[in-house]
């Protein structure tokens, strides 16, 4: 906004006034809201037992509103597709990692992977779950990338894409499978629900970890066997 100082100031003042008016109105609306009736909390609790998971948030994420999560996995994948379709950008890390980073990453990465696994497992009944575990896995991946590690040629092709697609693919396959055995799409029978959700969450964790690391790297691994 290269306008000269004078109009700049007037414009900013006007903007501040306008935005504070909006803020005031929104604050008033939020205040008025604080007295309105409760949301869907109790309904989630009542149906919690048949959802196959203890933690209500995971129940909502994976079971009640599983379709949202499915689409959101697609969002993650599309973001990566977008980044890869933009073509490569400068891979900034040329110099070998310093000693501190090297030893740190050697120590931390296994711990992070362990934490991710724990988060995934505990997600059923306590705070945790696929996204949190996936992001910790992603953090481990970022750490590795920072210390100069790169995926070998053999893994950079179809295998990497398979992992990236695993989460969403499994979700879709599970959903259609459940439909074929007579329920609605993504309708977990109470008995199977727990196991199935854990399976889906595991796949999702792997995918989210790989995707977040790939997003950090920024460009498609150069070696493409089947270009």
């Amino acid at each position: 906004m290269t306008d000269n100082q004078q109009t700049g100031k007037a414009f900013r003042l006007l903007l501040v006034l306008l935005l504070s008016a909006i803020a005031g109105w929104l604050a008033y609306a939020v205040l008025a809201l604080s007295s309105s009736p409760a949301g869907l909390g109790e309904q989630v609790v009542t149906h919690l037992d048949t959802s196959g998971v203890g933690n209500p948030v995971t129940a909502v994420l994976l079971n009640f509103r599983g379709y949202d999560t499915l689409l959101e996995m697609a969002v993650l994948l599309v973001a990566l597709l977008g980044v890869w379709s933009l073509g490569g950008i400068a891979d900034y890390r040329e110099s070998p990692p310093g000693p501190v980073l090297d030893t740190l990453s050697r120590l931390l990465v296994p711990v992070l992977i362990l934490v991710a696994a724990y988060l995934l497992w505990v997600g059923a009944d306590a705070p945790g779950g696929a996204f949190q575990a996936g992001s910790v896995l992603g953090a481990a991946g970022v750490l590795l990338l920072l210390s100069g590690w790169r995926l070998g040629n053999r893994f950079a092709g179809l295998l990497l894409r398979a992992v990236l697609v695993l989460g969403l693919g499994l979700f879709v396959i599970a959903g259609t499978g459940l439909f074929l055995i007579g329920g609605a799409f993504l309708e977990y029978p109470p008995s199977l629900a727990g196991g199935l959700i854990l399976l889906i969450e595991a796949a999702a964790t792997m995918t989210i970890g790989a995707t977040l690391a790939a997003l950090f790297l920024g460009n498609r691994p150069r070696v493409e066997p089947d270009k």
């Binding site: 109105w25 929104l26 008033y28 609306a29 939020v30 008025a32 809201l33 309105s36 009736p37 409760a38 949301g39 869907l40 309904q43 989630v44 149906h47 079971n63 009640f64 509103r65 599983g66 379709y67 949202d68 689409l71 959101e72 697609a74 969002v75 994948l77 599309v78 973001a79 597709l81 977008g82 890869w84 379709s85 933009l86 073509g87 179809l158 894409r161 398979a162 990236l164 697609v165 969403l168 693919g169 879709v172 959903g175 259609t176 439909f179 329920g183 609605a184 799409f185 993504l186 309708e187 977990y188 089947d226």
Partner: protein
């Protein structure tokens, strides 16, 4: 046999097919072209199935995960969503055929998965009955569209894609804040339930304002249209066709859904005021878009500004508000999608053939691409709203409502918009009849690309003849029930 054919949840299939197609194209890039076309055909069949299902047993509500409305997410398909799905399927099939010839090599590898995910987002959006789910589909749509615009690679395309991304994110955040206020105010995110529970309150009004602002930003209504021309003009031709025909209509569809079912019951005085404001902005869009289109020197920018103008027409129905006006809007959505797709493909052919799309230098080209120019002019007839096209039917219905309800100024805008459209379209067609020395040595532009453009333009014209039975289909589930008859 027909028993279980009707039993298949075509709605879910419509979402899964492009998703699975996208995944497959991403996994096996060498097969992406054939997979994409296969997926396009499958979706067309699925839309046919859904249409038949709707015709048989009326509007469909499908509870995903079996939980039902307040807790789980529902898919709802009625005449309006069927119209949008048919539009997406038709334009999608044409664009897929066009792109199979337009993109090759590395670009194709990136195009097909992104395009199929965008298609999945569109189908999911047209079927969803849950406003938070609509937020997620809007995001998916926005990201895929931005990536496709950036596919063109030049400085303009990247710049336009960046601005488009920022605008899209801003719009989504406004929408999400609106969703938050509505959820906490009325305890549910399902449209049908909200339609019963909503009553005027500060939270409801601010939610209306926020969501409308977010959606208007993404629909590029007049004052907020600054991002559209650059994005639609610098994107590759099939992507521009997609953006103008489908992507920019999705947020409008959501606004329509909310307006018809949730906001109209709060149709107290401020509601009418908002309607009039939208009409005013629409009128300004029609005039501004038309004038700007006249001033453009590049063909694709001209068509992009024509989109801005045509979108203005859609908003004229808000102040009119009767069901006939909404029918006009529905029909304009469909005919504009087909006509605009044909126009952008024609522009793509010209760009493909001679490397530039400067209108003044179109003389030599128009002679050599008679089919492309026929497509452009036929599509132009529909955009201008001249009979016998689909655009004419829509213009007629809007005019009729405007005059019947005594608001003649909207009628004046409609007529003026039509004249402006005629001006900028004939400005281009005029170049077709200049003296060209060498006769057309055709065959340079792949036949598929030219014939898809002609097919779309011809479909836009044919729409003019099938209005009555189209309206029967659109009327399933009475999408405009919440609105006064008239």
């Amino acid at each position: 046999m027909t028993g279980d054919l009707l039993g298949i949840p075509w709605a879910v299939l419509l979402i899964l097919l492009p998703l699975i197609g996208g995944l497959a194209c991403f996994l096996l890039p060498s097969l992406s072209k054939s997979l994409g076309l296969l997926c396009a055909l499958a979706i067309l069949v699925a839309v046919g199935g859904l249409g038949w299902q709707l015709a048989e047993n009326g509007a469909q509500r499908y509870a995903i995960g079996g939980w039902g409305a307040p807790l789980g997410i529902d898919l709802y398909a009625d005449g309006l969503s069927l119209l949008m799905l048919v539009m997406a399927a038709l334009v999608g099939l044409g664009v897929s055929v066009y792109s199979s010839a337009y993109f090759n090599g590395d670009k194709a590898r990136h195009f097909w998965p992104l395009w199929l995910f965008l298609w999945a987002a569109l189908n999911a959006l047209f079927l969803s009955a849950d406003i938070f789910n609509l937020y997620v589909t809007l995001e998916l749509l926005g990201l895929a569209a931005v990536a496709l615009v950036a596919l063109a690679g030049g400085a303009d395309a990247l710049n336009a894609a960046m601005r488009y991304l920022l605008v899209s994110l801003l719009g989504s955040l406004f929408y999400l804040l609106g969703v938050a206020l509505i959820y906490h105010g009325f305890g549910s995110v399902d449209i049908a339930i909200l339609a019963q529970r909503i009553e005027p309150s500060p939270a409801a009004w601010s939610a209306v304002g926020l969501m409308s602002a977010g959606l208007l930003l993404k629909t590029a209504l007049f004052p907020m249209h600054f991002w559209l021309p650059a994005a639609h003009a610098s994107a590759p031709a099939p992507v521009s066709a997609l953006l103008s025909a489908l992507v920019v209509k999705a947020p409008f569809y959501i606004l329509l859904r909310l307006w018809l079912e949730i906001f109209s019951p709060t149709g107290a005085a401020p509601g009418q005021l908002l309607g009039q404001l939208l009409g005013l902005l629409g009128a300004a869009a029609v005039l501004w878009g038309g004038i700007q289109a006249l001033r453009q020197t590049r063909l694709k920018l001209l068509i992009a500004y024509s989109t801005v103008a045509q979108l203005g027409y859609l908003f004229l129905a808000f102040p009119l508000g009767t069901s006939i006006a909404w029918k006009g809007v529905f029909y304009l959505l469909l005919s504009h999608a087909l006509a605009k797709a044909a126009m952008f493909m024609a522009a793509g052919n010209i760009l493909y053939f001679c490397g530039h799309d400067r209108i003044t230098d179109l003389d030599g080209v128009a002679q050599r691409l008679p089919l492309t120019l026929a497509a452009f002019s036929l599509a132009g007839v529909s955009i201008m709203g001249l009979p016998p096209s689909g655009g004419f039917v829509a213009k007629w219905l809007l005019l009729e409502t405007a005059l019947r309800s005594g608001q003649w100024w909207w009628a004046a805008i409609l007529i003026l918009g039509g004249l402006l459209a005629a001006a900028y379209i004939f400005q281009v067609i005029g170049h077709a009849f200049t003296q060209a020395d060498a006769p057309a040595e055709t065959g340079l532009v792949p036949a598929r690309m030219e014939w898809t453009a002609v097919m779309f333009a011809f479909a836009a014209i044919l729409l003019g003849f099938f209005a009555t039975d189209a309206f029967e289909l659109i009327g399933i589930g009475a999408p405009t029930s919440g609105v006064s008859g008239g």
